[in-house]
Symmetry: D2
Subunit: 509 residues, 4 copies
């Protein structure tokens, strides 16, 4: 549950009339990925054209003063980095973006999965390696991070963070390969797990090199686009559109793209393994206007809603979405069932990360602020409310209570996915299985716990059918090329490391 | 286009188990009013129970040190104020709320109409008057502000801001009435225009007194609610719900509510004039889950959509809302026309006040960040897009272009209000009539300017019918109790002051 | 214990090659006055040349947008103000100074005497009056502030602060005079007490006018200087030097200077009363390199030290100053006595306003950080330590203890002023007479309390002799033209208002 | 030109009644060392007693949340770090100190010598090594940093900074020693140059271990003190006094102190080499109240002044110090010559790092703000001004001009050290020899350049005599146990690395 972005190329193409720096484009791209992580944000750039020498400056001073006025960024060789806790809009302003010059950048928005939620664990990470300065940003999770880190420490490495991502820097610096791209390829031989990775470095000439690659199972998405004489990498197509880039291709599992100002080169770094694209991207993670594997996310969610109308018909007066993630499926359910669609809950757009929950007794007021029932739609009605999933169950309980309080006669909860029973070790923060309500409780029990009149989950086969089409109905998940581990318990990778890697694994050492 | 809030009473009612201070409740209430103004926010409290004397402090020190550790608020006698530019969530945090003790508060969110957009013009305003410290917050606009200010200056008043609201403080201090409520009543005799006003003061005993009142035409809304032993005033019912208060009544035009810890008293301060409630509150200003004059705003907007389906039938494949304000009307249009409703445009929830527009050539990218078309819904389709109103026309032009770019075959623009032709002098920032596109252009010309295949506005009579019901169809606006000046040019008040009061009027002096 | 500064004129004189704005010069001037007040700092400018109209802006927008990008200043008509708690260096940076354009400014550094220590009481104060926007800054204290404020409130005035200074704005706005300078003169007829005042306004033409004046007794200093085509007002000559201005004259008691871009005009506003210049300016307040009444402050202090050597001979090995204010007098004492001068205490230059005292048990460590004994100078020696005055006695006690701990065999405390027995109502924060150690204790008792081997104060006649020369030895203080009230109890003004005006007087109302 | 501090032990000794944390004591200690570096400040602590488990927290959450509320510090295992650009008072406040719990800490104030002046280069540095988290702070300079770094990179190390100090972390992690102290000893075998180093780590038990050591030549000072059951390390004795610690011993060249809660152990890590204590510590770097090698710094500087009076007698009326560093020597010169000592220049105590120089034409005003002549002392006089040293000559030129402007008849410049001709590679920022005025110019030429009537430097033998006493007069510097390289060009270490290591060396890679 992170988003990555990368751009490299000639941004000042003659006649293009477009003059934004790579950092500005990364800023726009990260806005389009913000839904994938709201904890921290960061951008690293390769500033390989240093500012001209000031009059009276000697060479030594020139190098030392090179980025002297850039007080808000971290400098490692020619790579400059800014990362902070907070939203993209909070981390960057005109002043900080102007401290990130150059035509190659990577960016990251984070929702922590490995490593605690602290500034030092925010990404991109930057280090000076035997290949010069290297920055790296990562969506996913390494399942063998703990043993790998112990090995590297015993070999004399030092670390600054508790992220699995930092292992890439150490592995790269240890590599004997001649150039950075090969060093990254070598480094990734040692890691197991899920990753869509972007790496920014500098060649011996000082020119930037941007590398993107996907793990051999293709668990996390990564798309390639182009914009004039530059190439762009991003977690979702939405970020390509945000910078005015046209989609070129989705990277295949195990593939890498190496981008320099001279162009792009696609390489196969890993032999093909079972394709296992995260189905939760379709259900919740991706934005409805994104396309994954060539399909509209909104379209898939509508199909899920229609499938639900078949699997779970309910006698009701109105279908409403749980805002905002249930909207597409609710429209599908309304279409499939013929029950009218309406807006029964309004979300307060101004309640964000910084809203302060009142203490104690008045905490219930906090809920009223975030979600507001439209009584005219609900009063006296039998209501179907469609939500994307139930993980812990707390939100569903509050939603049902709110609807009843606003006068709903019956509340039927329809969920656009199967029960979430197994922890995800590939980048969604559900490693603590104790907290998964469906791990311990039957559907009937959950219904009671959340207080609904009825509760319906989508079937796994129904999900696969909605994603892959009718022909896939009887397919096993493995054959559908999807990772459904959170619903089925069937993990595509061996869980080699301490069986159950935990988010806090690296904090202990 | 501002929101006001007030609360006063016994918040520590025995057995109530609710312990929030008045400032905390105002904070929650302002969140529910944030859509009415995002420019600045402020809360003033009456802290009439000063902190106990510290050991070794003499009386003089005690008074001087009373609020010494409250560095983030302004102190005027026993009233403490915090106001800053920005959203409620940006202006207040736990630390600042804890510097606003006490059980009586007023709050304000501002979208500037009179007075430039600066911190000093943010509200509430606070001054020490002949009645002790007084704070005031205001939704609306005085149309005789300029002449009133000149008169007061010539009488020796001094001012700190360029708002019309500050006139209330000066008029109050000049009053010869015995107590604050009567002084406010006297002061308001001198002003003409639109106002929903909340005033916070202290009685001779040190106890707080909260006063709310509406102008004689009732142009701006103000509702009264109750919560245990406290009473609440707010621009919309949504803010009552936010603090767990039950609605008591809407203040009538010309009415005032005087609230002390002992209870509430309703008074008629002005003889009845023609009722003229702002119809634009129904169309755009209020939140869909609010109730105005006893009616659901969402319901009225749906009725408007259905009326539009009658007035402006279009042959199309899909109806989509312009997010977010067109949603209710679009649902009504889809219901009325039988054309399927879908989501064709997704709004980026993270693009707010602090998003930085790229410069120049790449500005177009900014639009792509804010609004994202869902191609699967639009490609090859004849699209009806429903929006609430067209003021300047720039947004509509961009929306139409975006839809075409995403593959829409035809784009039909349906507007849930009549053409906006006349400036509003009552609190909506459209005083510069040069910028109203419908002032200078015919519907046909506007259609060309925004690039739509067809363009349809709601009729004035259709609007009245949707708001007041079928019986009202043939009514004159005046008889319907609505102000429709922005559409009809028929203003409920004389425009006594320099004929055309302007937002910058008071900046000149 | 405040400092004031003012400048007005043509700063862009051809050929002068000097291009600083008035605010920049005020910034430099306030640095030279910082020792007079470290609590808050502020600068107000008259920006009567508004920025040129931007393309496409209409007149209304132009006025409203005039200072739109100046987010860190307060705007009142054409006068812009920035004031904050803290040192000059903390309140101003390049960005804020650049938001204060124009060629007329006043500035202030504050140590609170009336009004609590809060941002809203920082100066200059700014209000819009019947003469347009007016800013005012004040060194001194009005002794009839309380009754004056009650009168103005009953006449309908409103106030924003609890300072006596704000009364000037209200009195000015009430004046019937034709132009601002006369209005200020009228206003000051109503006030009693001590003041060196600078007032900044705008004439009907929009041109700035700067007014400076001293109270009829001349209690507080105010000097006039010139710099190219501009005139400068300041509390001390040091601030003239800081901006490259040459001294012109000291304003006489009751005199005013009216400065416009066209030049300066000196007027006598009050009939002559008994001259009573604050003798504590010589002893402590002014900087040693300043000149007061034509005399070097360092020179007067050396003379005081020599006088002490006559009055209070001590058998000792070394004379050391209490840093930093005792240095000049200690040099004089060493010269007069023949005992060698040395540095026995070093002050830590980095311990300032923001140093955090450790709590409780370890508080003693705080003292060790601030003041450091040089053991090599002190060990085994009979030490004379010279300090400027003893007010509460706490510092002296700590100093003596520190010297003994460092090995001093005897510690003789010699004080460069008489016992401080009476509260000052003219701008030094000693209104709480309970805390004056010499009010309640004899010299012998104080000696015991501070732990010295001997303690010697200067005689009042010795003080007058050192300040006015040998001829003055037998003069009565009144005849010497000095206010010695804090030593003699002989106050130059009637204390008309509640007999004992207190710093917190205005907080109560 | 940096200061280091370390403390470890039992701070809560029963009966001691002293409860400050190690970070608070480090804060106080750094205040006493602030004169050694004003660029950045930092403190690292070992928080080996993690906060207790909150109710309902599982073990994983507990570890991850351990320091969750400590938003202003960096976490590496159990070591917490805060470092920022700025003065100690700017970097730390009560809130940040409270985020640094525990009873072991190291601290640093920096004036950059290797590595550019940026936050990432501020110290202490913190990394997770094969010995767990380790923090390190350093006064001095490694002369073989560049080749060492190249070697470590080729072995697979990664770096985050461009300081030589970070090499220690990499060398430690590579060590095969069993425990941290031996690993540090092994690491230092690889480095050449000057260092007083403090290292903070955690033993396997989680208990803290603090290590301090001096290079084999003893170029930089490091003293050991004790306070109840804790031990303290600091660059100067002044910092011991600041935390209430008694001096125990100065570490000998090549010695190390290993401190745990159980006590201290002194070890000899290097065979004895030629002792070469930096003579510039006596002349300028150390505070006058410090003791170095058992001698009072103030006393040595007075002896230098007396020696100058012998070597460079001048016919003059008054001796004044260049504030503040010339004061002790000026007193000595006055004593030796019989010419009266006086204060001719007053330094503005409020002009610090944040003072903004006016641009261009008015820059000269900046000088007037910082330094103020006392005309009464100077006018018409023949003035001897005593300064500690001349490095670039720019300050001297301004001082002389200022004195003449204030009326001095003659200005004689007397310098308390020999001409500064050779760059220092051991921690004083004079590596750019092009800028050393005495490198290129004779004494006569310098006199002309600074505009003095006469100019006198101390002789090298006179300096040694003043430091070591009469018997040393004919000694060679080597025999006196001093490093005088900056005056004599005689460097105690081989300059093995690229002959002339430069401050910017590591920026290039």
């Amino acid at each position: 549950m992170c988003g990555v972005f990368g751009i490299c190329g000639r941004l000042d193409a003659p006649g293009a009339g477009r003059s934004l720096s790579a950092a500005w484009l990364a800023y726009l791209g990260l806005f389009a990925l913000q839904h994938r992580g709201q904890e921290s944000a960061g951008i690293a750039v390769s500033a390989w054209n240093p500012p001209a020498r000031a009059v009276g400056e000697n060479e030594g001073e020139r190098i030392r003063n090179r980025f002297a006025r850039f007080r808000d960024v971290t400098v490692g060789g020619g790579i400059l980095l800014r990362k902070e806790m907070g939203l993209v809009a909070e981390v960057f302003d005109r002043e900080t973006l102007d401290q990130l010059p150059g035509s190659a950048a990577i960016g990251h928005v984070r929702y922590s999965t490995t490593g605690s939620s602290r500034r030092e664990n925010a990404q991109p990470l930057l280090g000076i390696t035997s290949y010069g300065p290297v920055a790296v940003a990562h969506n996913g999770n390494f399942v063998n991070a703990s043993s790998l880190r112990r090995r590297l420490l015993s070999q004399g490495a030092t670390f600054q963070t508790t992220t699995d991502t930092e292992l890439v820097l150490a592995l790269v610096s240890q590599s004997a390969a001649e150039r950075l791209p090969e060093a990254v390829a070598q480094a990734l031989q040692a890691v197991r797990g899920a990753y869509a990775l972007v790496v920014l470095g500098e060649e011996a000439s000082g020119q930037p090199v941007l590398i993107g690659c996907r793990d051999p199972h293709g668990l996390r998405p990564l798309v390639l686009g182009s914009r004039d004489d530059a190439y762009v990498l991003a977690s979702e197509t939405t970020a390509l559109a945000a910078v005015g880039a046209a989609p070129v291709t989705e990277l295949e599992p195990g593939q890498a793209a190496i981008i320099t100002p001279a162009g792009v080169r696609i390489e196969d770094w890993f032999p093909p393994r079972r394709r296992a694209f995260c189905v939760f991207e379709y259900i919740y993670l991706a934005r409805p206007d994104a396309e994954l594997e060539g399909q509209s996310v909104h379209g898939v969610r509508q199909a899920i809603g229609r499938q639900l109308a078949l699997e779970a018909p309910v006698a009701a007066d109105v279908v409403i979405p749980a805002p905002d993630s249930g909207t597409s499926a609710a429209l599908g359910y309304a279409q499939g069932s013929g029950i009218p669609f309406d807006l029964g809950l309004v979300k307060n757009r101004y309640v964000g990360r910084t809203f302060i929950q009142p203490d104690q007794a008045d905490r219930e007021l906090g809920v009223r602020i975030k979600l507001n029932p439209v009584s005219a739609v609900l009063a006296g009605k039998r209501v179907v409310v469609v939500d994307d999933s139930i993980v812990r169950g707390t939100t569903s309980r509050k939603t049902v209570a709110l609807l009843r309080e606003a006068g709903a006669r019956e509340v039927h909860l329809v969920i656009a996915s199967p029960p979430y029973r197994y922890p995800c070790f590939y980048g969604v923060d559900t490693t603590d299985e104790e907290k998964l309500i469906a791990r311990k409780h039957s559907v009937e029990e959950i219904k009671e716990l959340v207080g609904a009149d009825s509760l319906h989950f989508l079937s796994l086969s129904g999900l696969i059918k909605a994603v892959r089409g009718v022909a896939a109905e009887e397919e096993k998940p493995e054959d559908a090329g999807l990772c459904t581990a959170c619903f089925s318990g069937c993990y595509p990778t061996e869980l080699t490391d301490e069986v159950r890697p935990a988010k806090d694994e690296l904090e202990r050492g």
